[in-house]
Symmetry: D2
Subunit: 136 residues, 4 copies
């Protein structure tokens, strides 16, 4: 499953270079992952169990700048799942031209929010993720 | 006591208009209030007691834009203290010209961080604030 | 006309107090104003003429904290229009309880983006704003 | 040359997990790179020539969370320089324990800010960077 989200770039998303800054991209991509998680019913499952996913490694490659007024389409997909971690791939497209703006890969672990310790990804959470996993 | 902090405006503080955006100002002013609180020893007192100040009302007037590369000087002072609340005044000056960029007033209350409820400002915390209060 | 926008509060919108921070509110309210402007066709008009609205005064009153996982509904309306400035009122409601979280008022001016100078609000832009203005 | 900057983590830097969020780290690291560039005299050189460095690839590994009230020390160094690009390594240490919080690597290019096109790193800018480059 490849999840899609659109954002319109506002003046406040850009900097004096006229384009979206790195840290803004990280936020927009985080929002896209939340929508993905919400749409597949993951947020509810995590809430019930007091668990959360946190990012332990992220890599972003910036290919083409995005400017105020443009819309971007973010494709988000789960591309790998280990016993206690996984990988999410996110690609940002400029809506007008379908050219790639950003390629990124996020490595995450599951934690117990009470203890902040890593826990295995199992039971309902694992089943759900296996249903939506996409081949790399 | 009027506390002073300086910031250099970076590209990432500005937007495509070329100047510092509203929400960035709110953050820079918050950082200036933290430094004020730290410099007078307030952070330690609050930490010991599990208390924190939160803003319940804020008003900002933007007078002159600030651009990338400029430095700003923020003057922060406590100008009023009630039994459970107070007012902090913050003025932003453009360093080069000493002209005013932003005038602002923040109304705060003290809360117990465990219960998130308002509590009276008394004992050591009150004594400290009375020492640094500035006439409006 | 009262414009409505909804946001779901994510972990990254909140701070260690567990609730949405001031500067985040300012950003969410800005995004709501952009959607309002977009929905009434204002962004296109401004773009054509190289103009933009900037905030010169803002006041926010925080009434009830909003936490991770909650949704908020932002009501945005134009409540006053002068020859070169105007006022936008924004109220944030906690979706679950319909209680008010934030009340705010923004005073804006219109500028020519090339010169960064204030210009009168007239012609098509004025007509459009007069169509959507709401009594205070 | 290894450049050092310290930051104190405020409540507004953290999220409801109680620790510094990814996008905040990206901002704090950007501020550390600006201070590095400023301290070696690079900002002035770039300003004179209308040039700027932009990030085209970044990788961050999060090792240990950082909480409100902690101070962090960021070590920034230039570790590679090509004809039109280079690499900056940044490591975040928790000040109290000297344990590593974040490891990161940024790949940058030089652009002409007018045209937004990549340009070679040469003359004074190259000389300056060669003076401060650190072996990986």
């Amino acid at each position: 499953m490849i999840h899609e989200t659109e954002f319109t770039i506002r003046t406040f998303h850009t900097d004096a270079f006229g384009h979206v800054n790195n840290s803004r991209y990280v936020e927009l991509l985080e929002e896209a992952r939340w929508r993905f998680a919400e749409d597949i019913g993951l947020i509810k499952l995590l809430g019930k169990r007091g668990m959360g996913f946190i990012i332990v490694d992220m890599r972003l490659r910036f290919r083409a700048p995005v400017h105020e007024g443009e819309t971007i389409r973010v494709e988000t997909s789960l591309v790998a799942l280990g016993s206690a971690s996984g990988d999410v791939k996110q690609t940002v497209y400029k809506s007008d031209e379908s050219s790639v703006s950003v390629k990124s890969m996020y490595h995450f672990i599951l934690i117990d929010r009470e203890t902040a310790k890593s826990v295995p990804i199992k039971d309902e959470i694992r089943e759900l993720l296996l249903k939506v996993i996409e081949e790399k």
